[in-house]
């Protein structure tokens, strides 16, 4: 017999939670125990009094699974609100990557030129290396990294996706 697979969708969820010990384990654990995917997860406190955090999760799965993920998240006692930004419509998604590139000569020049095209900033430099800081959507970063591989990519640190709805109102 074979395991069946269904078509998957990528969704970005914004989850407002109590900033409490264990909340991240609770959310990450929910995904692992129920077999949901996490493509990216970011978390940081977002209120002045540091009591509330926003978690941005990029997940993928069949439509029914996405609905189930939202319902399961919403059910957690520490979760105040879950917003499906993908479903909601216009929103901004950004990610930051720090990219270390090593090389000399043409490779070094090419790396700088590409960095300029991608509006990446040099945040560290030696005679034989750069560290670039690049921000943008995940696809842009993927593309930038693909190019950097050609010119001496050493290592990458990515933040994962932060996202917010467009317009004046909170989502």
């Amino acid at each position: 017999m074979h395991i069946r697979e269904e078509t998957v969708e990528r969704h970005t969820l914004s989850v407002i939670v109590d900033n409490e010990a264990g909340i991240l384990a609770r959310i990450a654990g929910l995904f692992s125990s129920r077999g949901y995917n996490i493509q990216s997860l970011t978390v940081a406190e977002v209120t002045e009094d540091e009591t509330i955090s926003r978690i941005t999760i990029v997940t993928s799965g069949p439509r029914a699974v996405i609905d189930q993920i939202i319902a399961q998240l919403d059910r957690l006692v520490n979760v105040h609100k879950v917003t499906d930004l993908t479903e909601l419509g216009p929103h901004v998604e950004r990610e930051l990557a720090l990219v270390k590139v090593k090389g000399t000569g043409d490779h070094r020049i090419e790396a700088l030129r590409l960095a300029e095209v991608y509006r990446a900033r040099v945040v560290d430099a030696t005679i034989s290396s750069f560290v670039f800081e690049v921000t943008g959507g995940s696809e842009k970063i993927d593309k930038f990294l693909e190019l950097m591989r050609e010119v001496g990519l050493v290592e990458v640190a990515r933040t994962g996706v932060a996202a917010i709805a467009r317009g004046a109102e909170p989502a």
């Binding site: 010990a21 609770r26 929910l30 029914a64 319902a71 006692v77």
Partner: protein, 584 residues
């Protein structure tokens, strides 16, 4: 300024303020301060179990039979891990329960200290919520919040992990004002959307072949919900079926009653689900034991699902109308609106005529025997002998559980306590103890199997200590019968490890624990044996020897549709394909 008191005293005072009368527990190093605080007071009664797993199941039995939350107190490390099965059981069956676990002192947490385990980590996914309390000043509010979370919305277990130094440290405690909002992020939706209620009523009024598919949510909603279900059934005329967990919410003596549905449900219930044009799921969650093969489940019907847990809706079966809210209140709203609109049900006579044809199959019939006691017959006789006394029945897990669900009939809620979701062998005896503690004058019977009963046999000692007159009625066929039945059906009768070898002499075992032990060996002894069990004061264990190879029918084999029910053993094939084997 309130006087400061120790964390242990705060805990006891908060429990007292919450009206807790009974705590099931077992002492140990990390809860000694709490046990000392218990010693100094008289309002809370502690029931000492023999293993922490027994405490958790006893609390479940107490909760399910009284409607009040069950409370458990255990020590750190093994005390907590032993309770985990009962906690997981309570989560799957939505039983309100608060478990207080001791923990090593906060400076020792994370150091692999003696009897340390990561209780909040271990229980995170088998509780509705859990806490590690590090500050005694927050303890009082957390205890109140824990009870609120355990008992509201979809009920479930909540763990409070309490380090030993927090039990000793002092802080002020003040009872929260009544109605104070206890948690900002937790607001279960109790009242259903009136627009959805209206749509549901219109769909019900238009249905020609409706079925009310009820579940444990109605029991959880409280006895009033069972009453309003009767009214909803009366005005709509719809037939009613129930999951294992919902038995008793609707009286089995009603002509509208179809019996239980699902894997070991009745032919008429499953065929009615299959042929219905409208299914109204009321506090039930389309468990795989109920639906059978999903793509063949109720293909002709529109579906309404009322559930307090939003995540239950569309989880397994897509429905046409999802209603989030308390099922009792939602049914009440439906009944009111139906009456205001002066609806009349469609002519359901043709529908009941078809149901009667299915009923005529007599799917619960079993081969009679005079030589051996048929287990189904034993349960029928037990039911007939006790029905006037409105007993509370608990079960273990396996064939005996399904036979009890099929052949013991209930007229009211809170009388049927069984491990449905998790399917925990060893549930029945401690649950019976908990039920007896909560209902001292009730007749409480654990219908057991000889394999299951051994899983928590130590709790006989608890019943003896508190002189709890529970009756344990063992259907002894010397097999883990349900395992053996699946091996018959799926694995060509290769009985791998399913024989209960080296069984104890249950009569002598009973006597050793200070119980009365009885043995029933032939059909002619059955009624007298049951009578003797009932008339003997104190706890009684009955070893009822039944036919060894009887199997539980009807049955929907794994991977099959409702229409593919097996009614009798001769329809059984010896091997199944891999697709079926992969299903549990």
């Amino acid at each position: 300024m309130t006087a400061e008191r120790s964390g242990a005293d705060i805990l006891i005072e908060a429990l007292t303020d919450l009206g807790v009368e009974i705590v099931f527990g077992y002492p140990g190093g990390a809860v000694l301060p709490i046990y000392d605080a218990l010693f100094k007071q008289k309002k809370i009664r502690h029931i000492l179990v023999r293993q922490e797993g027994g405490a958790a199941h006893a609390a479940e039995g107490y909760a399910r039979s009284t409607g009040k939350p069950g409370v458990v107190l255990v020590t750190s490390g093994p005390g907590a891990t032993n309770a985990v099965t009962g906690i997981a059981d309570a989560l799957l069956d939505s039983i309100p329960m608060v478990v207080i676990t001791g923990q090593v002192g906060t400076p020792l947490i994370g150091t692999d200290a003696f009897q340390e385990c990561d209780t909040v980590g271990i229980t995170r996914h088998c509780t509705k919520h859990n806490y590690l309390v590090k500050d005694p000043a927050k303890l009082g509010d957390i205890v109140h919040e824990a009870f609120h979370i355990a008992t509201s919305g979809r009920p479930g277990p909540v763990v409070i992990d309490l380090p030993k130094d927090v039990q000793v440290a002092t802080a002020p405690y003040r009872k929260p004002a009544p109605g104070a909002v206890l948690h900002k992020g937790y607001r279960p939706q109790v009242k259903a959307d009136p627009v959805a209620i209206e749509a549901a009523v219109e769909m019900l009024a238009a249905a020609e072949r409706p079925v009310l598919y009820t579940g444990g949510g109605i029991i959880n909603s409280g006895p009033a919900a069972a009453q309003v279900l009767r009214e909803l059934a009366r005005i709509t005329g719809a037939p009613v079926t129930s999951t294992l967990m919902g038995l008793g919410a609707f009286p089995a003596s009603s002509p509208q009653w179809l019996g239980m549905l699902g894997m070991h449900g009745t032919y008429e219930a499953n065929l009615a689900m299959n042929e219905a044009d409208l299914i109204v799921a009321l506090g039930a969650r389309f468990d795989d034991r109920v639906t059978g093969r999903l793509d063949a489940f109720a293909p002709h019907s529109r579906k309404i699902h009322v559930d307090i847990d939003r995540s239950s809706i569309n989880k397994i079966v897509r429905v046409d109308l999802g209603i989030v809210g308390d099922v009792g209140r939602a049914m009440e709203d439906m009944v009111k609106l139906w009456k205001v609109r002066q609806h009349q049900p469609q002519d359901l006579k043709p529908w009941f005529a078809r149901i009667d044809q299915w009923r005529a199959k007599q799917c619960l019939a079993y081969p009679e025997s005079i030589k051996e006691i048929m287990p189904q017959h034993a349960i029928r006789r037990l039911w007939e002998a006790t029905r006037d006394r409105n007993p509370i029945i608990t079960t273990e897990v396996g064939q005996h559980q399904m036979w009890a669900a099929q052949h013991f009939h209930f007229e009211g809620p809170n009388k049927w306590l069984t491990s449905g979701g998790l399917g925990t062998m060893g549930y029945g005896l401690p649950a019976a103890i908990g039920a007896q503690v909560g209902n001292p004058n009730a007749l409480v019977i654990d219908i057991a199997g000889e394999a299951s009963i051994l899983m928590n046999i130590q709790e006989m000692s608890t019943a003896a200590q508190y002189r709890l007159p529970v009756k344990v009625f063992i259907l002894n066929n010397e097999y883990m019968g349900m395992v053996r039945q699946w091996q018959d059906l799926t694995y060509g009768g290769r009985y791998s490890e399913s024989y209960s070898a080296a069984l104890p002499d249950f009569v002598k075992l009973a006597e050793a624990y200070g119980w009365t032990g009885l043995r029933i060996e032939g059909t002619q002894e059955l009624d007298a044996g049951i009578e003797q069990m009932l008339s003997t004061p104190g706890p009684v264990m009955v070893d009822c020897r039944v036919a060894k190879l009887a199997n539980c029918f009807p049955m929907i084999p794994s991977g099959a549709a409702h229409t593919d029910m097996l009614l009798q053993a001769d329809e059984v094939s010896g091997e199944m394909d891999d697709e079926a084997k992969a299903l549990v």
